[in-house]
């Protein structure tokens, strides 16, 4: 799993916003397998905003529900900066705000293939042959 097609996140920095520590490990490991070497993590809305203040990532994975808070302000910041992102959620699309429901949403639990396809989708990377 080291060919360039699979490791399409090579040299990209990724921000993972996920409130549950154990799930964040899973996402980080998946991103690592997809080639990302610079993965940063935020567990709360405030921490995510602070990360954005410090440095903008190339792409982001956003859990919708952060311990009761919604991740949407982060999505708005990213969109304004032209940075692509995918949502992850346990609710499915029906639990999303109408404004964001049309975006790429990864339903939990997900495997690396699903996450990879979602990231390729927003990055407009062709699927690996």
């Amino acid at each position: 799993m080291t060919d360039s097609g699979t490791r399409f996140l090579d040299r990209l920095s990724v921000l993972v916003v996920e409130d549950e520590a154990i799930i964040s490990f899973l996402i980080e490991d998946m991103l690592g397998e997809l080639g990302a070497s610079d993965v940063r993590h935020a567990g709360t809305l405030a921490a995510a905003m602070a990360q954005l203040d410090a440095r903008l990532p190339d792409i982001a994975v956003l859990d919708v529900n952060l311990g009761g808070e919604r991740v949407y302000p982060v999505a708005e910041r990213l969109e304004a900066a032209g940075i692509r992102f995918v949502f992850t959620t346990g609710y499915g699309k029906s639990g999303m705000d109408a404004r964001w429901a049309a975006r790429v949403v990864v339903q939990k639990p997900f495997n690396i293939e699903t996450m990879s396809a979602a990231l390729r989708d927003v990055l407009e990377v062709l699927p690996s042959p």
């Binding site: 409130d19 549950e20 520590a21 154990i22 799930i23 964040s24 490990f25 899973l26 490991d29 993590h41 935020a42 567990g43 709360t44 921490a47 529900n65 311990g67 959620t89 346990g90 609710y91 499915g92 029906s94 639990g95 339903q107 939990k108 639990p109 997900f110």
Partner: protein
């Protein structure tokens, strides 16, 4: 009438009739005697000097004329509207004889000797002689019992309808055919949040009507207006009443036009069913299902991650981690997924699998939210599991002290291993360390610290608790 013979015959019989009539008309006493209206006359002192047959019928007796014991009225007893027996001196005849003024259309109840009662309408006039001196009075009275009974029945019917409408928990109001507000009950007033003016407001008593999407619906286009204009009953559509204080009440209207016996539109009645409670219950149920789904899906993702972490580490601890997660779930389920006690979590996740008596647990009951409970359960399990494999609990002499306290809104947790083998910081950060740091710092917004010393692992955590 063109036939002269017929005309003559007709004239003859008319003449016969008029002769008989003339006899009656010429004798007023006979005329009065035969009237279907009760008539009697009293002299100045109230003694009855004359009464006709109908009067006797209505009184239920024929009193002796000028009987000094029967004054003003020949009835056995007169009762006023308050069901009080009236003294003869209070009777209408006595009033007229005292004042010399007539009394018109006075309703009275007469009681007969057999106890039956009738309602009469009395008209009393004073009588004067040629010099204008009051000499007596005459009372013309008729039985209006049946009319009064029907009127009372109608009044009672209306009263019952009002009482029923008032007692109903549903908001109800009526309008006339033009939509002008005529009546509303207390439930309607409560739903509207204000008191509209009867006869001034049209179509609906609400302050403001909105469509479910929040756009304004003018009163003359509200469902009641449509029902009256189109002369048909409607169910819905759903609308929202905005009160003067800005609060909103979703409701379902049931406007129904009312028609008279001739089929003409005479008004309308509308019932408004408050949907607030139903909406709240629906939202709560949707919320519960969403929340359950969220938790289940996150739990599955957590299990997936645990499996991945465990397989990579190759330490075969998957089952222990899964059981720890499951035990915290059990604690939360016991309390409707609102809270779990830290003391119970510590016992359930730390003690199983470690030798009895080698972990001292000391701390008060602390109610943790599901998030903090799940994180603390996993962290404590990881610490205990590490201690049994590499730390103080891996040798017979070692022990662990777990203590916590709450200081303001901060939960302080202290895990101290003693008497075990000297531990050095691991070369590669394992799952346990990673979990403690990330759970406490990133997930719970607290401060973790793990020290690896010769005495053993010492881990402290400061965790902010929600208000």
């Amino acid at each position: 009438m063109s036939n002269p013979a017929d005309a003559n015959g007709g004239a003859r019989s008319a003449a016969v009739t008029s002769l008989a009539l003339e006899r009656i008309v010429r004798s007023p006493a006979t005329l009065v005697e035969n009237l279907s209206i009760g008539i009697y006359t009293c002299d100045r002192d109230g003694l009855i000097v004359q009464f006709n047959r109908r009067a006797a019928e209505l009184w239920g007796r024929a009193p002796a004329l000028s009987d000094p014991h029967i004054r003003y009225c020949g009835a056995f007893k007169t009762i006023d509207r308050d069901c009080r027996a009236a003294a003869p001196a209070e009777s209408v005849m006595a009033q007229v004889l005292a004042s010399g003024e007539p009394v018109r259309d006075r309703e009275l109840i007469l009681e007969r000797e057999d106890g039956t009662r009738i309602t009469i309408l009395a008209n009393v006039d004073p009588l004067f002689d040629e010099q204008g001196r009051l000499v007596g009075g005459v009372n013309c009275f008729q039985d209006i019992s049946e009319v009064v009974r029907m009127r009372d029945q109608m009044r009672e019917g209306r009263r019952v309808v009002r009482h029923v409408m008032e007692a109903l928990p549903a908001a109800i109001y009526t309008t006339d055919a033009d939509g002008k507000l005529q009546y509303f009950n207390t439930a309607a007033e409560n739903l509207w949040g204000f008191t509209p003016k009867i006869g001034e407001q049209f179509w609906c008593g609400s302050w403001k009507i909105l469509l479910p999407d929040g756009t304004l619906l003018p009163h003359d286009r509200c469902p009641m207006a449509v029902a009256l204009k189109e002369k048909r009953a409607l169910v819905g559509p759903e609308a929202v009443a905005e009160r003067p204080d800005g609060t909103r009440v979703p409701f379902m209207p049931y406007p129904t036009p009312l028609f008279g016996s001739d089929g003409e539109l005479i008004g309308g009645v509308n019932m408004l069913i408050d949907l607030t409670e139903q909406k709240r219950a629906d939202a709560q149920q949707r919320g519960l299902i969403d929340e359950l789904n969220h938790r289940v899906k996150n739990t599955l993702a957590t299990i997936q991650s645990l499996a991945a972490q465990t397989l990579r580490g190759g330490d075969g601890e998957f089952e222990g981690r899964l059981l720890a997660l499951s035990r915290v779930h059990d604690q939360l389920t016991r309390n409707a997924w609102e809270w779990a006690d830290l003391a119970a979590i510590a016992r359930d996740t730390v003690l199983p699998g470690v030798a009895n008596g080698r972990v001292r647990i000391e701390g008060p009951s602390v109610r943790l939210t599901p998030r903090i409970a799940l994180a603390m359960g996993m962290v404590l399990h990881e610490l205990a599991s590490n201690a049994s494999r590499h730390g103080a609990l891996s040798t017979p002499a070692g022990s662990v002290a777990l203590a916590w306290r709450v200081d303001g809104q901060i939960l302080h947790v202290d895990w101290r291993e003693e008497g075990g083998p000297a531990v050095a910081p691991p070369t590669r950060r394992g799952f346990g360390t990673r979990l403690v740091e990330r759970s406490v710092a990133n997930e719970l917004g607290g401060h973790p610290s793990i020290a690896f010393s010769a005495a053993g692992v010492h881990c402290t955590m400061e965790i902010p608790l929600p208000e």
